[in-house]
Chain length 143, copies 2
DNA sequence: GGAAAAGTGGGGAATAGTGGGGAACCAAAC
DNA sequence: GTTTGGTTCCCCACTATTCCCCACTTTTCC
């Protein structure tokens, strides 16, 4: 299949579980993903196929720029591998939910090679605040 | 085959399904397309052959210009991979239909490498409002 | 004129999303 | 060593939606 596309709002239940959109389950080789916070506003969910090259590049970065080590450690420290249960849900730890403001609802956004998990309101705000200066370029991509 | 050409009006049924014009089915390698809103007035429907390079350029854009991320996310969030059912229909989600004003009828317009889906009235209005200043240039293309 | 294909409509089965019970596991307290 | 409390996980159950299939009509093509 092509990359992840679409957006879906799902409930976060009392136990911190969230159902992964069915269309995002299909096509990933296994039932597990890497959950990591790359940006301030959202969590990122990477299938192994997308994570593997990232892991390589992080090691490369540490080799070439040892002073980046603390920053990379900060990333990996908060990342974790999550698997879907029989109902197709993943468990998002409380601490991570707090970091990006997830409460009752989680918005899954397809972002080509990865999935982002947003608080719905934050996503709306972020979209509205997005810079339109790229619009002409984006339209030209489709022409 | 050559690019998509022609225009066809089809009904949107109670479930939000629309039959893809038969002539647009032929020639696309698979039975699935990317449905995405690039312009305000219409939906775009891209066969995989047209989508693949677009996806590549979008990722390239995010890599080189991180501040375009919100804008690209807005695009992918509203995009969707759709497959034709056994009758050759695709399902257009309510939300997307509302965005471009599709009610009972959908106008499929061939646009070379992609297909556009319009509300018939909006398309008429947009055509009438088109700027004639490009006429000489277009005529020269055919000369 | 007949056969095939295209467009339209709807019923029923399968799946997705959601909630909750209870076993298994671990840790500290008695 | 046993008990108690808290997590974690696995499984079952309910509901709504989606998807798949069948059927009918109209048009096209030979």
């Amino acid at each position: 299949m092509s990359g992840y596309l679409g957006s879906f709002v799902h409930q976060v239940d009392a136990k911190g579980r969230v159902a992964l959109p069915a269309s995002f389950r299909r096509g990933s080789e296994s039932e597990s993903f890497i959950l990591i916070q790359v940006h301030d506003d959202a969590l990122s969910l990477l299938p192994h196929a997308s994570w593997r090259p990232v892991e390589e590049e992080l090691r490369e970065l540490m080799r070439k720029q040892p002073e980046a080590r603390a920053r990379v450690l900060g990333l990996t420290a908060s990342a974790l591998e999550v698997s879907t249960d029989k109902q197709g849900r993943i468990l998002v730890p409380d601490r991570m939910r707090e970091l990006v403001g997830l409460v009752r609802e989680a918005l899954f956004v397809g972002a080509l090679n990865k999935i982002e998990i947003w608080d719905p309101k934050r996503f709306r705000d972020s979209s509205e605040a997005s810079d339109p200066k790229f619009d002409p370029f984006i339209e030209s991509i489709f022409a």
